[in-house]
Structures are given as C-alpha cells and as structure tokens.
C-alpha cells in the first residue's frame, strides 16, 4: 500500500487551504508543502502504475497519477490549481524519463493528463457544494458522470491523438483510446473517492470512533483480505468465475456500516489485490491475452464499484437526514415547550397525525388519541367553531396559510384563547398531502387585554354619561334660579291681590321682575344651542355606522342590565357626514337610554330596540331608533321636544331638547312617531361634501 502516503499528505493540504483563508503568516511554506506532497504523490502514483501492468502488455491496468491530480484539484480551491499542476509537472517528467519516452510525448501526456483532471474537477466544483464529499447520492452521481467518465472520455481523444502524432507505439488510434479510457476510469473510480474521503477528516474520524467500531473495521479488513486472497490465489489458474463475488458481502458491509470512507477503502483493497494477483498469474483474470485480461479486470472492478459508491452515498444521506430530522424535532419540542406552542400535523396520505406534547396539553387531547379535524373542532369554543371551520376551508381552497384567533372550551370547562396558523401541503399531483399548523396559547394576554378593554369602555361610558349628566345638572341649576323667582313673585302677587287692591307701583315692579326672569330662562335655553355650536371646531368626517357601533359598545352593560335586545340594520356603504362624533354619540345615547326607560314596563323578552341607518334622497342619511315600549302619547307628539316636558315620573324633560339642539346644530332634523307598538325617533343629517368619502363595506 504505497499510496498510503498520499492521503496523509493531502490531509495536510486541505487544512492548508483552510488555513490560507485565515491568512496565516506561514502562507509560502504551506504552498511549498502542498507542491511537494502533490509532486511526491504523483511520482509514486506513476511508479505504482508501472508496477500494475500485465506483462507483456505494456499499458498499466490502473494509472494512478491522473486520479491523484484529480483528487488534489478536488481538495484545493480553484485559485491554487495552477500550483498543483506546476508541482505535478516535474514529478511527471521524472517518472516518464525513466521509461524512455521521448520528451515531446512526455509533454503531450502531461497536457492530456492535466486536461482530464481539469475537466473532471471543474465540473464537480461547479455542480457540487464544497468541500466535496461522497455522502450524497447527487454528489456521487456527479462525480461518476463528470469526473470518472466525461473527463477520461474527452481527454483520451487528445491522448490518442498525441500518440498518433508522435508515432509512439504500434497501436491504432482507437486501441490507444480504449486502453487509456478504461484505465483512467478505473483509477478515478477507485482512487479519487478514497483520497478525497480520507484526506479531509478521515484520520480524525479514525481517532474518534469507538473501540467496537474499530474492532468491526479490523474484522472487515481481515475478512476482505482473506476472502480475496482465497478467491484469487487459493484456487487454480482458471477457477470458477463465481468466486469473484466472494468479496461482495464484505464490500456491502463496508458501505452500510462505514459509509463512503469504508467502501472506498475496501474498493481500493480489492482493486489492488485483483490487479496484483492477475499480474502475477493468479486468479480468474489470467485465462486470455494480457490485453483482454486487463479489460476484464477493469470492467469487473468498475461495474462493482459504481453501485457500491452510490449505495454508500444513499446510506450516508439517509443517516444524515434522519439525524437532522431528530435534531429538528428536538428543537421544535424545545421551542414549543418554552413558548407554549402547539405544533401539529395531519398527513392525509399516510393517515398519520402528530402533535407536540405541549399541544396535547393545551388542547387537552390524550397522548395516544389520533388527531382529526372533528376532534380538533370539538375543543373549539362553540361560538368560534364555525369561524374556525370556515378559516380551514378557506385555507384549503386558496392554499394559503390561515391565521385565526379563537377560544378553546376544554372538557374541564376552562376557556383558553389561542392564535393558530396552519397550511395545507400538496403532493406532486396537486392533491392534499398534509395539514400542518401551530397554535399559541395567548390566554394570559387575552385576559389582560379583555380586562383592559372592559375598563376602558367602562371609563369611556362613564365619562360620556357624566358629561351628559353634568350638562343637564348645570342646566337645571341655571334654569331653576329664574323659575324659582318667577314662581315666588307670582305667588306673592296672588297673595297681594287677596289682601285687597295692591300698591300699583309695587305690583308693576313685581311683574317687571317676572318678565325679566322669564327672559333669562329663555336665554339659558338658547345657551344649550350655543353650547352645542361651540363644538363646531371639533367636527370631522364621520360615519354614522361607526358611531352606532361605538355607542352600542359603550352601552353594552346597560343593555345587559336592562335585559334589552338590540338589533342593528346598518346600510353598508353609508355616506359619511360632517359632525362632532362626541355630540352624535350623546344624541344616540340619549335616544337609546330613553328607549330603554320607555320599555321598563315591557316584558323582558319583548324589550327590543332596532337601530337602522339608511340613505334618504341623494344628500340625507337617516338613522332611526325604534323601541317596543308602548309608544308616545298621541296628543303630545309635538310637545315631547319642548324643554321640561317629560313623560317620565322623574324626568327633567331636557334630554330630547338637547338632542334636538345638537341635531339642528348639525343642520339636521329630529322626528318622532309611533310605530308597531313603540316609539320611533328618526334623525336626518345632510351628507358631507365631498361625497366620495364612503365607508368601505
């Protein structure tokens, strides 16, 4: 095994190339080392090639120098290839000079050898990730097709051409081509994988492996050598050709258990033993002429090596994939545990389902129960079930990722909030292959958000209600002063009259006071309009539908408390209006509170308010609030908007006055009528200009 020197040398070479990347100071020394190793290996390879000839046929059965050159190129970055070739040249010269080859022929051969190595290495470098490894089916395939077949195939034309040009030897062009081709292919297939796989981290790997593996490897080598020795030496000069297959189990053993490293080494062993024994007249390849025997050996070894290398590649690839898969599973599990994530997948083809442990905990699904859409939906809160179902359907039809937030109602009665994302996977025929998804438990955040929202809404509601209350309270106080004075003066006047004819001057003064106070009360009423108009600066483009939704949210708890159902019939695409949203909210709130109070005597199941928005004519939007509280008194239909008129026992009679003031300040009108056993209030407001601003339905 003289070639044993090469891998060690090239191992140093590769570590050199990485060291170069680190821009080491000793760069020139390493370059020199690489050159020396390549030169030495090339020379030794040539010597071995001369040794492996079947006499009297002068052509080597296996010609290693080309393969050594190829392997060196595969292991070296492209920008150092010139150096490899430069170093190999003197070795080539030294080896060939000894065999009396004319100088021109030596040079030509070097050119054709270099071409072979360059073609093969170039293609592999271009097509395969670096560093080159034989642990993938694709890599092995690329190597076999381009480096082991295409390179020799093309370069042998050149080679044979040079031979013909120099009139070297007596063989015909095609004979030379064929002999060179098979020799070079065999060398590439047997030597290059061995050098490449062992020079990288082969020795480190040897040191790392466990004792049991080491023993196994030793047994394998011993078994292989002894079986081979028996097959080629033990039986007579022309033995049964079936014996050739004796090493095969050991080679497969090497491929399965030791991957590309093991199989490439074993192939080398078999190759050398086969050629060596044939060269010394033993074994099955000694029956015919030297030329034919050489071809037989080459064919035998090539045919045997190709599937073994491919097998090793497949096995390593699968092993690595399995490891990666395991690592990914472990990562996913770790992530899902630390982030409260539920990963799950349903494969429709294999009918296999999987869910991470955390997921089963979140969804409360026993560890062994297979997943199904029905089971999954059964955990979803009944109110959210149809939405989730639809989202999944939509995802299937549109083959997009779905994302949905929903609640889970677990068998133990607990409600949990989750956000789920999922996606359908498709097979090659475009059918459904699987459904994968992830769900995250956001209960804590959702609860906090909900609480915050409720608090905020309650605060907003209180401030709205109290703003209204404040307004009416201060109005009441303001108005009560002149009214008290008027009432007092009137009563005093009556008493005076009862006590006989009054002092006319005194009485006139009294009446003047009454008149002044009455005007003052009127002024205060007008003040409401002014108060409302004060807010004209805060008007903006608003949509009535938005305001309805906002007010419904604000009054939500009141509706619950008064057991009143609210229906909305909002026109999509309702044009916007120009208004103060807070004032409109107050208007609507006032009408709704009126409606609720009007229905106090209505049985709860009939307490229903219908809010409706419509377009009326081109430029008017209508919003109506209808209750089922028995309606308005017919004779007083007009009076209800007057100040201080109230049908409620405790009413101040200001609510509708304010409502009307606000509506009129916005250029609108307020109407009231009886409708189907209840009262209906309708507000008509002008559409804002420009009319393009429409709600997106």
């Amino acid at each position: 095994m003289k070639t044993a020197a090469t891998p060690i040398g090239l191992a140093g070479l590769e570590s050199n190339s990485t060291a170069e990347l680190k821009r080491a100071q000793t760069f020139e020394w390493r370059i020199g080392g690489i050159a020396l190793v390549v030169a030495l290996a090339y020379y030794l390879g040539a010597k071995i090639g001369f040794a492996l000839t079947l006499q009297p046929h002068p052509i080597s059965v296996l010609w290693p120098p080309n393969s050594i050159l190829l392997a060196a190129l595969l292991l070296t970055p492209v920008r150092f290839w010139w150096l490899i070739l430069l170093a190999a040249f003197p070795a080539h010269l030294a080896a060939q000079v000894q065999s009396n080859v004319p100088p021109a022929m030596i040079l030509c051969w070097f050119i054709s050898n270099s071409c072979e190595a360059l073609i093969g290495a170039g293609c592999v470098w271009y097509l395969v990730d670096h560093p080159v490894r034989f642990d993938r089916l694709r890599n092995v395939g690329v190597f076999l097709v381009f480096a082991a077949l295409l390179g020799p195939f093309l370069s042998c034309f050149l080679d044979a051409g040079f031979v013909a040009l120099n009139r070297w030897g007596q063989d015909s062009y095609w004979q030379v081509w064929r002999v060179r081709f098979s020799s070079n292919v065999l060398a590439s297939i047997t030597l290059v994988p061995f050098i490449v796989t062992w020079s990288g981290d082969g020795l480190a790997w040897l040191k790392r492996i466990r004792r049991a593996r080491f023993l196994e490897g030793t047994f394998l080598v011993l078994g292989l050598v002894s079986v081979q020795t028996f097959a080629f030496y033990g039986s007579g000069p022309s033995p049964d050709s079936a014996l050739l297959y004796l090493p095969l189990p050991f080679l497969i053993w090497a491929a399965v258990r030791f991957g590309s490293r093991g199989v490439s080494a074993a192939i080398c062993v078999v190759t050398f033993l086969a050629i060596w024994s044939a060269g010394h007249g033993y074994g099955p390849f000694t029956a015919r002429s030297a030329e034919e025997d050489a071809l037989s050996i080459q064919m035998f070894l090539i045919v045997m090596s190709v599937p073994l290398l491919l097998l090793a590649g497949v096995i390593e690839e699968r092993r690595r994939d399995a490891t990666m898969l395991r690592e990914r599973d472990a990562r996913i599990n770790l992530a899902s545990e630390s982030a409260e994530l539920a990963f799950w997948s349903i494969n429709f083809e294999t009918k296999k389902t999987w869910m991470s442990e955390k997921g089963r905990a979140i969804f409360n699904i026993p560890p062994d129960e297979p997943l199904s859409r029905e089971l999954f939906l059964s955990r979803v809160h009944p109110e959210d079930r149809s939405a989730v179902d639809e989202a999944i359907d939509r995802a299937r039809d549109s083959s997009k990722t779905f994302e949905i937030e929903y609640r889970l109602l677990r068998p133990d009665g607990e409600t949990r909030w989750v956000i789920a994302r999922g996606r359908y996977g498709h097979n090659e025929q475009g059918g459904m292959r699987d459904l994968i998804g992830v769900a995250i438990d956001v209960t804590a955040q959702a609860r906090a958000n909900l609480e915050l929202r409720l608090q905020r809404e309650e605060m907003a509601r209180l401030s709205r209600v109290s703003a209204m209350g404040e307004l009416t309270a201060s109005l009441a106080h303001e108005l009560n002063q002149p009214l008290t004075a008027i009432a007092s003066n009137a009563a005093a006047g009556r008493r005076m009259l009862m006590q006989g004819p009054p002092n006319s001057a005194e009485f006139e003064e009294l009446l003047a006071d009454v008149s002044t106070d009455a005007h003052r009360a009127g002024e205060i009423i007008h003040g409401i309009h002014r108060f409302v108009r004060k807010s004209e600066g805060t008007r903006r483009v608003v949509n009535l539908n938005e305001i309805v939704r906002e007010v419904l949210r604000l009054l939500h708890s009141d509706f619950l408390g008064r057991e009143t159902a609210v229906e909305t019939d909002l026109l999509a695409g309702l044009p916007s209006i120009h208004a103060d949203p807070v004032h409109l909210q107050q208007v609507l709130m006032n009408l709704l509170i009126n409606s609720m109070e009007a229905m106090q005597a209505t049985p709860p199941q009939k307490r229903r308010i219908v809010i409706c928005t419509r377009m009326e004519a081109e430029s008017l939007v209508l919003i109506s609030v209808r209750d089922h509280g028995g309606g308005l008194p017919k004779e007083n239909l007009e009076k209800i908007f007057d100040g201080f008129y109230s049908t409620k026992p405790n009413g101040m009679g200001m609510g509708l006055t304010i409502v009307r003031s606000i509506v009129e300040a916005h250029g609108g009108t307020l109407g009231a009528e009886n409708s189907e056993g209840g009262a209906r209030f309708s507000i008509r407001l002008p559409v804002s200009r420009p009319p393009e601003s429409r709600e997106v339905a």
């Binding site: 008290t484 004075a485 009432a487 007092s488 005093a492 006071d513």
Partner: protein, 218 residues
C-alpha cells in the same frame, strides 16, 4: 305684623331669587332680610328673637351646609329651610340630620315655603321659650349652697329625710332644715313642683353609688 320681634333671612347668591322670595314672604306678612352670601349673614349683628333662614345649598364661598355647621357651633337658635336647584339624597340627609326644618327643591310651591317658615318660627319661639325657662330655673338653683343642692338631688330621687341623713351621714333634723331652705329659695311649695323645675333646668336625680358632686349633667 310682628316686625322686629322675629327675623326671616334669605341667603341666596341669585338676586332674582332673593327679590322674589322677599316679595313672597312680605306678602305672607314676614319682614325679610336678604343676604347674597353665607359670610354676609355671619357678619350681621346677632338677632335675639326667633330667626328663620331660607338658605340656598349651592353658593360660592361658604355653602348652605357649611353655614348650618357654623351656626350650630355658634349656638344660635336659627331654624333653617334649605332650598336647592339640584337636590341629591346625601345632601338632603346631611341637611336634615343637621336639624333643618325642611329641604325644598327649586322651583317650589310658595305655600310650602310659607308653611315651612311658619313652622320654623314656631320651633324657634318654642326653643327660645325653653331656653328662657331653663335659664330662669338655673338662676334660681344657682342660689343654693352646695350642701342644699346635694339635698335637692336626693329629694327628687324620692328619698325620705331619714334616708338622706344616712346617705349624707348627718342628722335627720339637719336635712329637714336644708330642705326647707331649698323650697324657700326656689319659691316652691311641693315636691312635684320641685321635680318639674329641676327637669327644666336639666338636673338629674342623684345616684347614691356615684356620689352627688356634679352640678348639671352633660
């Protein structure tokens, strides 16, 4: 017309209300003084006769309830009728607990106010009469010596002379002398009269177990 013998005060920050109320009360026969604020009323010199205040709850500066507290601390006999434009239950409760005669919501019925004023004045007169009686009774009792006062308290307990003598560790005859002097000083002739007088003055009977030192109970 009982002018100058009684005072009706209207305290309200609104001039119209003040004018209207004064006219109303005048037509009902009451002389009325008006005040624009609680501070204005407190600045007035003390009126000795019965006083009825018609008081607005909500005023700038010291409000109605504040004035009520102030007057109680001053020990006056003003009877208060609250009037308010926006009455709430807690305010009304506080006002009534503070001894208000009535709590009226503006605008109120004029007869209601006149009745309330009448009631307030009666209350006030009654209170003033009681105060006068007590003052008179106490001035009589104050003429007694401490020993005579001690005997008095045992007498109104219903003890016999003999029992009093044993309580005070003295002779029955001595007690008899004291007792005679008490009746003479107070100008009374019977024990029931004596009991009524001590009640008006607010004197409780002696309790043998706790001694007889105190003059008037709290």
């Amino acid at each position: 017309m009982s002018a100058a013998t009684e005072l009706i005060g209207v305290v309200d920050d609104d001039q119209s209300v003040r004018r209207g109320l004064r006219r109303l009360l005048k037509s009902a026969g009451y002389a009325t003084e008006t005040f624009a604020s609680a501070e204005d009323y407190l600045a007035r010199e003390l009126f000795q006769g019965p006083i009825c205040l018609v008081l607005d709850v909500r005023m700038p500066g010291l409000n109605g309830l504040g004035l009520q507290k102030e007057l109680e601390a001053r020990g006056g006999c003003e009877q208060i009728i609250f009037i308010t434009g926006h009455g709430d239950v807690p305010t009304a409760t506080r006002a009534m607990k503070g001894g208000a005669v009535d709590f009226l919501l503006k605008p109120f019925d004029s007869d209601e106010l006149v009745d309330a004023v009448k009631k307030a004045l009666l209350h006030c007169k009654e209170q003033l009469r009681k105060r006068g009686e007590r003052r008179r009774a106490r001035s009589l009792i104050d003429k007694l010596t401490p020993r005579e006062f001690e005997v008095l308290r045992f007498v109104i307990m219903g003890l016999l002379n003999k029992q009093i003598a044993s309580e005070l560790k003295t002779a029955e005859k001595t007690i008899k002398v004291h007792r005679g002097r008490v009746m003479q000083k107070l100008g009374l002739s019977s024990v029931p009269d004596l009991v009524r007088l001590t009640q008006i003055a607010g004197i409780s009977p002696a309790d043998a177990r706790y001694g007889t030192k105190g003059q008037y109970p709290a």
